[in-house]
Symmetry: C2
Subunit: 286 residues, 2 copies
C-alpha cells in the first residue's frame, strides 16, 4: 500500500490523537472518514471539517472502502474491536495504531487479522494533559517523535508507508524500533517519568505547598494530571520493563540518599556533575 492522492483513510477512535490525525490528514486534502462511539464526536468532527464522513458504529462500507485504517483506541478496546470486526477489513488494507506499548499488542493483533491485511504498528509520542476530540490539534505533533515498530512479518513497503504517515502528521522525528526495544525505551523515558510525577504529587499533602511552588516542582509534576484508565492499562501491558526501570531508579535514588546521610560530598557532587553533563544530550534541538 503506497500513499497517493486518492488514498482513503479511516480513523477508528476520535479522541485527542485520532482527532489530531484526522485534522492533519484533512488539511492535506486526503479523504478521511471516522468511526467513533459517540454520535456527538462524529458531529463535532464533521462540523470542524476534520473528517468528510463518519459513523457511530463499525460501518461496513467505511471499513471496506478504506485503504489505510488507523486505530486510535485504548489497547484493550483495540484488541476487542479486531476480534469482533476484523473480518470486515478487506485484503490489501494497511492498518496501524497509536498504542503506547507494543510487544503485548502487536503480535496479538497481527495473528487475528484476515489474510492479506497488514498491521504495521506505530507510536505517536505526543499528548496533552487534556483529552478528547475538542482538544485535538495537529500542532501537538510538532517537536515530537513518531516511532514505527515493525516485526519480521512486515513488508518494506508497509514500513515505508507508515514512516511517511509520521512525516505527514507533522512529527519532527520518525524512527524505527523493534516492539521490544520500544517498550524498553518507553518504560524508562515515559512510564517511569509518569510514575515519578504521580508519586511526587501524592506523597505529601501538607497544606499551602502550592503557595510556594516554583518552576522546578511544576515541571516535575506537569504530567501528574493523568488519564487513570489509560495509563493503568499501559503500565500493566509493560509491567516487566516498567518495574525494571522503577528498580533502576529506586536504587540510584537510594545511593544519593545514603550519600546525603553520610555527608559524602564527593559522591553527591560526582552524581550532579554526571547529571549536568548528560542532561545536555537531552536538550531540545532548536
Amino acid at each position: 500500500m503506497k500513499i497517493n492522492e486518492d488514498t482513503k483513510f479511516l480513523i477508528v477512535g476520535l479522541g485527542l490523537i485520532g482527532g489530531s490525525y484526522a485534522e492533519a490528514l484533512s488539511k492535506k486534502d486526503f479523504y478521511v472518514s471516522a468511526i467513533a462511539r459517540r454520535p456527538e464526536t462524529i458531529d463535532y468532527a464533521l462540523n470542524k471539517g476534520i473528517i468528510s464522513e463518519g459513523a457511530a458504529n463499525p460501518d461496513e462500507r467505511l471499513i471496506a472502502e478504506a485503504d489505510i485504517i488507523i486505530f486510535a483506541l485504548y489497547p484493550h478496546i483495540f484488541v476487542e474491536w479486531i476480534e469482533k470486526y476484523g473480518n470486515l477489513i478487506k485484503p490489501g488494507t494497511l492498518i496501524t495504531d497509536v498504542t503506547g506499548v507494543k510487544s503485548g499488542i502487536v503480535y496479538k493483533i497481527s495473528d487475528m487479522l484476515p489474510e492479506g491485511v497488514e498491521f504495521i504498528a506505530s507510536h505517536p509520542m505526543a499528548g496533552r494533559e487534556v483529552g478528547g476530540v475538542e482538544n485535538a490539534s495537529s500542532e501537538i505533533f510538532a517537536g515530537a517523535n513518531f516511532v514505527v515498530t515493525p516485526t519480521d512479518k512486515n513488508t518494506e513497503e508497509a514500513i515505508e508507508t507508515c514512516k511517511m504517515l509520521g512525516w505527514m502528521h507533522g512529527f519532527s522525528r520518525v524512527s524505527c524500533l523493534s516492539p521490544e526495544e520500544h517498550d524498553d525505551m518507553i518504560g524508562f523515558l515515559s512510564q517511569l517519568a509518569h510514575c515519578i510525577a504521580v508519586t511526587l504529587m501524592t506523597c505529601n499533602d501538607k497544606p499551602n505547598l502550592q503557595k510556594y511552588t516554583g518552576d522546578s516542582f511544576r515541571d516535575l509534576t506537569r504530567i501528574a494530571r493523568i488519564n487513570d484508565v489509560m495509563w493503568s492499562e499501559l503500565f500493566l501491558l509493560n509491567k516487566e520493563k516498567l518495574l525494571e526501570s522503577m528498580k533502576t531508579f529506586a536504587n540510584e535514588f537510594n545511593k544519593l540518599q545514603t550519600a546525603i546521610e553520610n555527608d559524602d560530598v564527593e559522591t553527591m557532587r560526582a552524581m550532579m556533575r554526571r547529571s549536568s553533563e548528560r542532561r545536555i544530550l537531552f536538550d531540545k534541538k532548536k
Copy 2:
C-alpha cells in the same frame, strides 16, 4: 531602616542572583555598589550599567556607606565573610541574603553581627540552569516567590523593608515563613525535586535514549543541570528535612511499585486520580 530614594545598596557577590538584583535596583535608579571576588565581574557589571561602583575586595568605604547590604554568596562563604569582615558593617545597616536554606544559617549569622546591625533573611526562589553575572537578568524573578524568614529577633520595620525589597526586585509573590517552615517546604518542593531529577538523569545510560525523549522526560530533568558545589552544600545544610522528604517519596514510590507488581489496578487508579486532582492546585496563575 526604611527604603527611600537615597537608600544605598551594596551587593556582595555578583553571580546570577546578585547580578539580577543589581540590575533590578539600578533600573529603579537606586545607588548600587558591589563587591565581587573577580575584577572582571566588577568591570562587566560597571560596563553593563547594573552597578555604579564596585570593588574586588571587601572595601571599607563601600561597606560603611551602604544602608542595605545584600549577600548573594554560597552559604559557607557568607558565614566566612561575616566572620572576617562583619565588624566593618556600621550600626543601623540592614542586611539580607539569598541563601536557599535558612535554619542552619540565620541564627549563626545573627549571632556574629556587630551590635545595631540587623539581619533579616530572605530567599529568592528563582534561578536558571546557567550561572554568573553574564546570565543575570531581573526577568528571572517574574512569576517567582520571594520568602522572608524572620526570627524573634527581627523588628517589624526590617520585615516590612525586606518584603518591599522582594516587590522591588520584581517577584510575583512575597511571603513570610519561619526559618524552620521554610526549610521544611524547600526540602520537599525544591531539594527533593532536584534529587529526583539528578537520579533520573544518572540511573540509566543506555545509548540513544535522547533520540526518543519527549517532553515528559525533558520536563522532569530540566533541573538535572545543577551546580554541584552549591547544591551539595545546600543539601547538607538541610540534611534532616531533605532526608525526611526523600523517605516520604520513596515510600509512596514503593507503594505504586507494589501495586503494579500485584496488578492492583484500583490502587494505581486511585493514586492517579488523586494526583490529577491535586495537580490542579499547583497550576500557575495566569
